[in-house]
């Protein structure tokens, strides 16, 4: 009887310590998550594999909301607050981004070029055809960013550190081109 009570007391006190410490760790440091979907192919979840990649999500590196172009980040979806999406950062606030129209009837801007407003960024999935990203819902608030994917942990053959890298056709435009486009009135500046 006494032993059982002591056991439960130590279980409860261990619980009271472990839960807040673990939750705080997950909030401040990071955790591990499995990537679902094909929107980041071929970089994540490539087609020739039958199971999904597992990535390390680093919360500490985004605690000040500083992200770089080319980072792979996890963010809350602007269309569904309970869903997390994983995309690549293509452009930051102040950048001018070439907008790739995908389907008629989606939220589109008048011009092909968009100026990313302050406090926002532009994200895209590597898989152009299967990604619901900024090309669909426009620039996204940086406040929605949740973590930076720093490593692919599983499967072991794909273990690697994720370095920021932009697809060759999504590199930032040079200032001359931007000035030229602005003169032509080809850049949409959203009203923020």
């Amino acid at each position: 009887m006494q032993a059982a009570r002591r056991y439960f007391k130590s279980f409860a006190s261990g619980f009271v310590v472990a839960v807040p410490v673990t939750v705080t760790f997950l909030d401040y440091v990071g955790y591990v998550a499995r990537v679902e979907g094909a929107s980041m192919q071929p970089f994540l979840n490539p087609e020739d594999r039958s199971f999904n990649d597992v990535v390390l999500l680093n919360r500490w590196s985004v605690r000040n909301f500083k992200v770089n172009r080319g980072d792979v980040v996890s963010l809350a979806s602007p269309r569904d607050p309970e869903q997390r999406i994983i995309k690549r950062v293509i452009a930051l606030e102040g950048d001018t981004v070439r907008h790739t129209f995908k389907m008629p009837g989606t939220r589109t801007y008048k011009n092909r070029y968009v100026r990313v407003p302050s406090g926002h960024f532009w994200v895209e999935g590597d898989n152009f055809r299967h990604s619901l990203d900024s090309n669909f819902f426009g620039p996204v608030s940086v406040g929605l960013v949740h973590a930076r994917a720093s490593h692919i942990l599983w499967p072991p053959q794909r273990w690697q550190r994720i370095e920021p890298s932009l697809p060759t056709d999504r590199r930032p435009l040079d200032q001359e081109t931007i000035d030229h486009l602005e003169e032509q009135g080809a850049v949409t500046v959203p009203k923020t």
């Binding site: 807040p20 939750v23 401040y28 809350a76 602007p78 269309r79 607050p81 608030s141 406040g143 923020t192």
Partner: protein, 180 residues
């Protein structure tokens, strides 16, 4: 003799650090997932909330998605993720909101999926969804339930001002009866 006292002191120090970490984590979890004290600054929620007022906010409504039109919420600013804004919810996703209730020719907007429309009670002096558009729901952080300072003006918050009732035509008159 000396080394055993040193070891005892080291164990004590470790225990202190352990307790500090444990209670620090409990504090983090409480403030992050349960309730929070907030000090506001700015004129955009007058007369409901003034600068230097201290508020108690809770996170459950946001997490359980029971936030509704008329609630005063704290959210991350869509234009600067490092600052927070305090506004009233004037529309949920799918609602039709009016951008300029005072004008003769009214302009309307649909609140997109996954977003809310935030307006400051001091509508003449507030930078809110009328300026930066609908705010993604995931930026919401907590709902204000109580004002604790100043003591003369404390208690649950007032309801929305008359002007705001016209922003969303079906906005119910929340908190107006008996709360203040």
């Amino acid at each position: 003799m000396f080394s055993s006292r040193l070891r005892a002191a080291a164990w004590k120090a470790a225990a202190v650090v352990g307790y500090a970490v444990q209670y620090g984590c409990i504090a983090h979890c409480t403030l992050e997932y349960a309730a929070d004290f907030i000090v506001c600054s700015g004129p955009s929620m007058e007369p409901t909330i003034h600068t230097q007022d201290i508020l108690i906010t809770e996170k459950f409504s946001v997490m359980l998605k029971t936030v509704d039109v008329g609630d005063v919420v704290i959210a991350r600013s869509p234009t600067n993720p490092n600052i927070f804004i305090c506004k009233r919810v004037a529309g949920m996703e799918g609602d039709k909101v009016c951008l300029n209730p005072g004008s003769f020719i009214k302009k309307y907007r649909w609140v997109p999926r996954g977003h809310v429309w935030l307006v400051g009670d001091n509508m003449a002096n507030s930078s809110d969804s009328r300026v930066y558009g609908a705010v993604p729901y995931a930026l919401l952080r907590s709902k204000v339930v109580f004002k604790v300072w100043p003591p003369g003006d404390s208690g649950s918050l007032r309801g929305p001002p008359q002007e705001m009732l016209q922003v969303l035509r079906t906005l119910k008159d929340t908190g107006g009866s008996g709360a203040r």
